[in-house]
Chain length 206, copies 2
DNA sequence: GGAATTATTGACCGTTTGATCAATAATGTG
DNA sequence: CACATTATTGATCAAACGGTCAATAATTCC
């Protein structure tokens, strides 16, 4: 048994240290969920004393909210990059759905699910959740609205369909967290579902 | 300031007391979420000493799992009763979706969302979540399979569609928890989505 | 009525959480 | 080199958690 001593952390500039802490929190959230982002766990992961984390962050409530935001906004940027690589609303929407449901983002899904739960007791986090949901919906709405303009899609409520699709995807991913396996048909079925919402014939997106 | 003293609880039969405690836990879960189901909170709500709750329950982990199961299985029974009041797979599926998405079950949705999150650190709860998801899926699958037999629906994967619909509904309800309002179009859009998955023409369910 | 049974409780314990603050040690500046 | 600045830390606190156990009080039984 070696007591897990900790050497004194090398002195760094406040900017650099703040970055270390933010990164440690982000890693913890992705590996063990938002609930694992505690003062002591972040300190241990960053290799500093717990008091230093408290010194660099106004409160754990806000650190958790910021961490959530960092994880999710990174995902949104990733998706926007994906959309830029393909052309045409139908292809874009298909690629988006297939990517988001490919089952390789369980770590981000855990962050989402825990954010919904923790947000009920952390108003700062709840605000961040609403912001990021708005951002996600805006991306989906953009693709759908573009498709309506080009005549690819048919709906008079692009915003509503975007919310609907976002909810569907979140629910399916949350479900996959508990019921591993069976992720095969999800994307195909979701595409059919979206076809139904956008007045497309069966297979128009697949 | 009156210190919240507590009178000694009247002596009851073990069965009755166990019921009191289960009911107190259930009420707490519906009013404040599963995370509020703590030893002390349940004791306070039941009007007994914390030690008595510990005496009647093997562990808080299992009390939380049982409470989740009580809340959710009651909802499933309610839905099965609803299905018995109408006839024909299309009408049944429509009624089911409209009911589940009518926005009056936020309390149950909170229990679901917190169960997904807490289940990651409570294996007993995780098992209960899987069981209840299976039960829910079985209900949906029953309606869908019946529709396939009667020729109302068209799919070769009733089980898959059932899982898909369950995920969609859960996601939409979780979303409504954060983004209140706008619950108007959800049912209609969901019906169109299901039409897409079941090879139906637009409006066949609405 | 007295004794055995048992439902109930208060007083604890150990752990984990977020947070504060005086003390310490490293840096940079004159 | 001496000194001011400041990044970092150990010690400590209060609150909340699940859980244990001997003592107490109500009931039942003979």
């Amino acid at each position: 048994m070696s007591t897990p001593t900790r050497v004194r952390a090398a002195r760094k500039s406040p900017a650099e240290r703040a970055d270390d802490i933010a990164r440690a929190a982000r890693d913890l959230a992705l590996e063990q969920g938002l609930a694992a982002v505690t003062l002591r766990a972040v300190a241990a992961s960053a290799g500093v004393a717990p008091a230093l984390v408290a010194h660099y962050v106004p409160s754990m409530e806000t650190l958790i909210a910021r961490t959530f935001q960092a994880v999710v906004s990174a995902e949104i940027i990733e998706i926007e990059a994906l959309l830029a690589t393909v052309e045409g609303p139908r292809v874009q929407l298909g690629a988006l759905i297939r990517t988001v449901l490919d089952g390789t983002r369980d770590d981000v899904t855990v962050v989402w699910v825990e954010a919904w739960a923790l947000g009920r007791r952390n108003e700062t986090l709840a605000r961040a959740v609403r912001e990021e949901m708005d951002a996600w919906q805006a991306v989906l709405r953009g693709v759908i609205a573009a498709g309506v303009r080009t005549g690819d899609f048919e709906t008079d409520d692009a915003a509503g369909v975007a919310w609907q699709l976002l909810g569907m995807v979140d629910g399916l991913n949350a479900q996959a967290l508990v019921r591993w396996g069976d992720t095969g048909g999800r994307a195909a079925l979701t595409l059919h579902a979206v076809e139904g919402m956008l007045g497309l014939s069966r297979g128009a997106l697949g």
